[in-house]
């Protein structure tokens, strides 16, 4: 990769340790993806916020670099481990809370907007078509490339951080033109959001950096988010294009059998002790839709709902949060199902969810059973 004189000087350490670290990361990223040069980007979205995922090493790293590092461009942030407003209800230990607050403080010191959301594409204005961004949250990178006409690679937590500090990213892969060599033919009839999540999970396993998907009808907001979440979990793929693709594309069917395989991998329980909705976090549209679906009904067991703080505030003004709380929902902002420290195998055997992304991490990281159901069925089975 070619560096300008200024970039090279930063890499050599002539502009301080922070920039040297950032350029070292960008150069490794550039080498990994065969980039010729670095290009300016306008927005970075960082992962690596939840103390449950980054641990003591991550907390110490951020605390140390925040003394000198400052972000150069608009930078937003993934969810953390809890909602400070109701954390006392969940029995988290003091150490977790203080380490998490230290992480939050480090990011704020660096100049990052504390959005604590994995759906930046729903709560911030989308820049003009073709704008280069660096999104580390995998579902957000896929959404940005596939629905929002932005350009990003599937960044890592460190590559996005390096891009935030330098305002640059290697010009490679999905930042350039990218033509998929695989087309997945969607054959499953009448898909709901759970099926789209499984399709995404399957596509992520077979695709490289991007895939075509044919046979899709119109998808609502919940279904497209489910597909982005599923895809980001299983693979390296960060873009889907709708259509058949070129005639020389390898064609792979996603039919009942393929769907059953994904289901068998992730569904490990017949029923759940609690329900979680929101991985990715729910936006205002989904909250509004859920509120109307729950009219006159209430949950028979605990139901945790995850959304960004701004969405929760809007929902409160409109009156949705009252309705949802009446129906027995616990509404949590700033955090997410995914890698939540609030769900613990000591007191939960299994969780019911409609999220494939959530299912993967609940099963592998939280170590609890997972019962997969689409939202409509959750409401039918679990409310009265």
């Amino acid at each position: 990769m070619e560096l300008t004189k200024d970039e090279y000087s930063a890499l050599k350490g002539e502009q301080g340790e922070i920039l040297q670290m950032a350029y070292r990361i960008l150069v490794a990223t550039g080498e990994a993806t065969d980039a010729e040069k670095l290009v300016p980007i306008e927005w970075a979205h960082l992962s690596g916020v939840n103390y449950n995922t980054i641990g003591d090493a991550g907390e110490e790293f951020l605390s140390s670099i925040s003394k000198n590092a400052r972000v150069k461009i608009k930078t937003t942030l993934n969810p953390m481990g809890f909602d400070i407003d109701n954390v006392s209800n969940y029995g988290l230990d003091e150490n977790f809370i203080s380490k998490q607050l230290s992480i939050r403080n480090s990011y704020e010191t660096m100049g990052v907007t504390p959005s604590f959301s994995c759906i930046p594409y729903e709560i911030f204005d989308i820049p003009k078509n073709g704008t280069q961004v660096a999104f580390a949250e995998s579902n957000a990178a896929i959404h940005a490339n596939s629905y929002d006409n932005l350009k990003t690679n599937k960044e890592s937590a460190f590559s996005a951080l390096a891009s935030a500090i330098t305002g640059k990213s290697p010009f490679s892969s999905l930042r350039k033109e990218d033509t998929p060599n695989i087309t997945i033919r969607m054959k499953v009839k009448n898909p709901d959001e759970l099926v789209y999540g499984m399709l995404g999970f399957f596509a992520g396993k077979v695709g490289d950096t991007s895939v075509n998907i044919s046979g899709l009808g119109g998808m609502d907001n919940r279904e497209s988010k489910a597909m982005c979440g599923g895809m980001g979990t299983s693979g390296t793929c960060a873009k889907f294009l709708f259509g058949e693709g070129d005639s020389d594309c390898e064609k792979i069917d996603f039919d009942e059998k393929e769907m059953q395989n994904v289901h068998d991998e992730l569904n490990t329980a017949e029923t759940g002790d609690l329900i979680t909705l929101g991985s990715p976090q729910l936006g205002l549209k989904e909250i509004s839709d859920l509120t109307s679906k729950l009219k006159g009904r209430s949950f028979k067991k605990r139901c945790m709902i995850f959304c960004p703080r701004t969405v929760k505030e809007q929902a409160r003004k409109i009156g949705y949060t009252n309705e949802l709380e009446r129906a027995g929902c616990e509404i949590l902002s700033d955090c997410c199902t995914c890698l939540s420290p609030l769900i613990n195998k000591d007191n939960v055997d299994a969780v019911t969810t409609n999220s494939i992304k959530g299912a993967f991490y609940l099963k592998n990281s939280n170590g609890v059973g997972v019962n997969l159901k689409p939202l409509l069925q959750i409401i039918e089975d679990e409310t009265r």
Binding site: M21, R24, I25, V27, A28, T29, E31, A32, T33, S47, G48, N50, T53, I54, G55, D56, A57, G58, E60, F61, N78, A136, E137, S138, A141, N153, K154, E155, S156, A157, F158, S159, A160, A162, G204, G232, T233, S234, G235, T236, E265, L339, F360, Y361, N364, S365, G367
Partner: protein, 129 residues
């Protein structure tokens, strides 16, 4: 060899997987043990191995997991992949874990349990002992 992403020189025993690895959530950051029951390395520790696997997949936060296992002294000595992905590349870059990519032929010729030395500056970086 296709590419050196992070340079270095180490000797060790190969732990090989034919499955990609999602470092976040499936590698215990304190012990370096793989916790995904569906993975062919389930219950094995990647500590002090030369970890050979197709590529990293999944969450971008996996880069922090690599940094954590390095800080906790439970990281592999080096990693060898078929395909470079940003999570593994940047995690190794920040943690100074040697990382190279190799061709599909080389990948199939490396077997679990082999004793190898890796020197990224040598024209033949992988030497079988």
């Amino acid at each position: 060899m296709k590419k050196t992403l992070v340079s270095g020189k180490v000797c060790g025993i190969v732990l090989k997987s034919n499955n990609p690895i999602n470092f976040l959530g499936t590698v215990d950051k304190k012990t370096g043990i793989i916790t995904d029951k569906n993975h062919d390395l389930f219950d094995k520790s990647i500590k002090d191995t030369i970890l050979v696997f197709p590529s990293g997949v999944g969450s971008s936060v996996g880069a922090y997991t690599i940094y954590s296992i390095k800080s906790n002294n439970t990281a592999p000595l080096a990693m060898i992949c078929q395909k470079a992905d940003l999570t593994v590349a940047t995690g190794c870059a920040l943690s100074n874990i040697p990382l190279i990519t190799i061709s599909d032929e080389e990948f199939s010729s490396i077997e679990n349990g082999m004793n190898i030395s890796l020197d990224t500056d040598s024209p033949n970086p992988i030497q079988y002992q």
